[in-house]
């Protein structure tokens, strides 16, 4: 029998590429795991003795507080816009997602500024109404305050999922919320999915494909509902944004300069480049998975997305240690000064860390995209004689265009907001909008920091609007 060109069926270039990507991405994760088991020092014992219990208690309280409060806002708002018809309902559907663009640390600074003694609220009361309060009228520099800030920045996640659940247009909307997604979202998704399965049974028993009908809110209720939604929007987005505009108005002349434009440009290019890299790497992983004959490969590629669950500062250390070792080895081979820290001391380390941290953000929408188009088109193309690369380029990629765009955008926004990792790994003279805002804020120049914050928030809104339009379009 004549032998044709044969290969081991489980081997292809994509498998090799995926293994390399996977190894690279998991280096910092394993470094951290190893560090976890290092012998604790004296200061750790001191921490355990005096502080740990308190930290633990605060964390638990914060967790439950935010879960309850954010669910309360998110679910009730979602219920109003899905179940009732009232003035402005269509706008609230997307207005209430906008707070996602507000990084929690900026929200915290902003609210502190709004509510402090010299802030607009207290000043107004003091100067115009003559009401002098002892201390701040509303004090948010405490645990309830922290719960409040985190709740108003996180509730849109719950709002989006609940809305889709209520509308029972489950599939497309949930897909879309997965596009908006993150791992925090995923747990909720699972929960709501099971909830929905229950609903579907119920729906089948009664009215199979009856569309969700909104009840027209009564005359009085109309205003109540409008009022509730407006209040949520103002508190979680409108008022803090106004405060930021106020600060920008005060200080823009000090900040606006060629340097600030350069800062924006650098932040944007860094974020876009990272978004692009994450999407390319995700595609390599997912495509290798798509072509692989083994089901377990899926679980392994998931390792690449673990970084999203690890705090940025920890990832930074996980990146620094191996990269420094490589650099030191290079310097021992060549002369130290001629090489320098070519990996750990440059943007390479920063982009690498962003990729590890935000892989999940790009991976998940692409995974959803690949699953949506199904494997058959890919198989059909290969059976028509096209190799895996040409198939990817001519068939798969054009069909997942929107997923790719979503991936890039979501990573873009996350990188733009990222702070702790950037602070540690940025090279000399390197600022991003987030580090600039943070530097100024820690330097107690909160008004000045608002300029950078404003750019972060406004760019953060862009993908939200884009994704929302995508959801609309899909739902017809």
């Amino acid at each position: 029998m004549e032998l044709a060109k044969q290969r081991y069926y489980w081997w292809n270039r994509w498998a090799l590429a995926a293994i390399i990507v996977l190894l690279l991405v998991s280096i910092p994760i394993f470094t951290i795991l190893v560090k976890l088991f290092a012998v604790p020092g004296e200061s750790w014992n001191h921490l355990v003795d005096t502080q740990l219990l308190g930290y633990f208690k605060n964390t638990i309280l914060l967790l439950f507080g935010v879960a309850i409060f954010a669910s309360l806002i998110g679910i009730s708002a979602a219920w109003l816009v899905s179940a009732y018809d009232f003035p402005g309902r269509r706008y609230f559907e997307w207005l209430l997602i906008l707070p996602l663009g507000f990084p929690a640390y900026i929200m915290a600074y902003t609210y502190t500024g709004m509510l402090e003694y010299t802030g607009p609220l207290n000043s107004f009361l003091r100067n115009n109404l003559g009401i002098v309060t002892k201390g701040s009228l509303i004090d948010i520099m405490n645990l309830p305050g922290a719960i409040f800030i985190l709740s108003i920045t996180l509730f849109p996640y719950i709002f989006v999922i609940s809305r889709s659940s209520f509308l029972q247009q489950s599939r497309t909307l949930q897909e879309a919320s997965a596009l908006l997604g993150s791992s925090r979202l995923r747990t909720f998704l699972l929960y709501l999915e099971s909830l929905q399965r229950g609903n579907r049974k119920y729906a089948q028993a009664n009215s199979m494909s009856k569309p969700f009908e909104r009840i027209k809110a009564g005359k009085g209720m109309k205003f109540v509902f409008f009022g509730i939604c407006t209040t949520i929007f103002l508190i979680s987005f409108g008022l803090p944004l106004l405060q930021i505009f106020y600060w920008v108005n005060l200080t823009w002349h000090k900040v606006a300069s060629w340097d600030f434009l350069l800062l924006i440009y650098r932040s944007f290019s860094l974020a876009a480049g990272t978004g692009f890299a994450v999407v390319v790497l995700s595609i390599i992983l997912l495509y290798a998975l798509r072509l692989s004959p083994f089901a377990w490969v899926k679980n392994i590629t998931k390792i690449a997305t673990l970084g999203y669950a690890i705090p940025g500062a920890v990832i930074a250390v996980g990146i620094m240690i191996p990269l420094l070792n490589i650099d030191k080895w290079l310097m021992s081979v060549f002369t130290p000064q001629s090489v320098g820290l070519i990996f750990s001391g440059t943007l390479f380390a920063l982009v690498f860390a962003y990729i590890v941290r935000f892989m999940a953000v790009g991976y998940n929408p692409l995974d959803a995209g690949f699953q949506k188009i199904g494997i058959h088109v890919n198989e059909a193309s290969r059976l028509l004689g096209q190799g895996s690369m040409r198939t990817l380029w001519n068939i798969d990629l054009p069909l997942i265009k929107t997923s790719m765009l979503s991936g890039i955008l979501l990573v873009f926004v996350d990188v733009l907001k990222e702070l702790p990792l950037t602070l540690i790994l940025r090279p000399f003279n390197y600022h991003t909008l987030a580090t600039k805002a943070f530097d100024m804020a820690t330097n107690e120049m909160i008004a000045e920091s608002a300029n950078a914050s404003l750019v972060i928030i406004l760019t953060g809104i862009l993908p939200i609007i884009f994704l929302n339009r995508l959801i609309r379009k899909r739902n017809g």
Partner: protein, 353 residues
């Protein structure tokens, strides 16, 4: 000449505890249409995907056009096999128009792709709509595009996965015939998968029956109908009576009486007798050794079905001409014109791993 040869093909999915395809060997002749028939889970679609190169067997060899394409752990990738496939969901490329879909497999070949694609489309009965996109076409039209796309690059063999399952019953007969004619016209070898016996009987030259990953029987529709190797195959083609009998000297003792058979000495103990309702004669006297109580008579215009019950209440069906009258008759004597004796365990069972 056999164009496709499968030798000892075995496939087990990672988490399954049984073989999806178990030690299957078969050959497909050049130019013929072979139907792979079986229930869902029988391994028929897996077998098709193994041939296409979309799945890989744990063991076994496949050769196509005299070239070994699967040899144990090594194989030729799907894109180098020259296999055409029509998917159950057609898998048309939604972002390409009809013409570009068909031209897709023609790129890089030294031919006038445009012309070949148009000719192929016309052959499958599409004369216009070349610039339309798949979602603008009806299901039937989409299937034709998918077929044209698979045929256009002139593959060694084309594979069709449940080609008739998405069509409504009214269209089915017509489409079966059309597809058979298109395939025959292009002289391409075809293997298709179906769960519907009628698809297989009306369209295929030969039929292979799969059950639990095992190849039960392969042959022409006539040979399968008339010479089923076991009750499973027999049951696949119409009603089959099965009665338990014990082998005696000179015949079988059945619940309906003693059936003389000179070959009965070859068997011992309990056997199974299989016969079709139409393979009986009714009458009286020594030539009609079996009899049973009439349970029910159904009239179908061109024939009647008489149901008999044995003393234990087990029923069999007999087919007879529409003119016979059974008024006032409570028992009926009959003989078997043709029957099959099965002595061992009937169907080859799923092999546990």
């Amino acid at each position: 000449m056999a164009i496709l040869k499968l030798h000892n093909i075995t496939k087990k999915y990672a988490k399954a505890d049984y073989f999806a395809v178990n030690n299957v060997s078969l050959e497909v002749e050049s130019g013929e249409i072979l139907a792979l028939v079986g229930e869902s889970g029988s391994g028929k679609t897996t077998l098709l995907r193994l041939i296409a190169g979309l799945e890989h067997p744990n063991d076994g060899n496949i050769s196509l056009s005299g070239v070994c394409i699967v040899n144990g752990q090594k194989s030729v990738p799907a894109n180098e096999r020259k296999v055409g496939m029509v998917f159950q969901d057609y898998a048309l490329f939604p972002h390409l128009n009809v013409l570009d879909n068909v031209k897709f497999g023609l790129t890089g070949k030294n031919i006038n792709a445009d012309q070949v694609a148009k000719d192929t489309l016309q052959m499958v009965g599409l004369n216009e709509n070349f610039k339309k996109y798949p979602h603008q076409l009806s299901g039937g039209q989409q299937q034709r595009v998918a077929l044209a796309r698979a045929i256009a690059p002139n593959p060694s063999i084309i594979l069709l996965d449940e080609p008739f399952s998405n069509l409504d019953a009214m269209l089915k007969d017509q489409v079966r015939e059309e597809i058979r004619q298109i395939i025959k016209k292009t002289k391409v070898t075809a293997v298709f998968v179906t769960h519907d016996t009628r698809d297989a009987l009306s369209t295929a030259d030969r039929i292979a029956i799969l059950h639990n990953g095992l190849l039960q029987q392969i042959g022409t529709p006539k040979s399968l109908y008339e010479e089923p190797v076991n009750a499973y195959v027999a049951n696949f083609f119409g009603k089959q009576n099965s009665i338990i009998a014990s082998a005696k000297d000179g015949g079988f003792l059945t619940p309906f009486g003693f059936l003389p058979d000179a070959n009965a000495y070859q068997y011992t103990g309990e056997v199974q007798l299989l016969f079709r309702p139409e393979h009986v004669s009714l009458g009286s006297g020594e030539d009609f050794p079996l009899s049973g109580a009439i349970f029910k008579v159904s009239y179908f215009g061109d024939h009647q079905i008489v149901k008999l019950a044995d003393p234990q209440g087990k029923r069999i069906s007999l087919k007879t001409t529409p003119d016979k009258s059974f008024d006032g008759i409570s028992t009926l004597a009959f003989s078997l014109n043709q029957y099959k004796v099965i002595s061992d365990n009937t169907i080859r069972q799923k092999e546990q791993v």
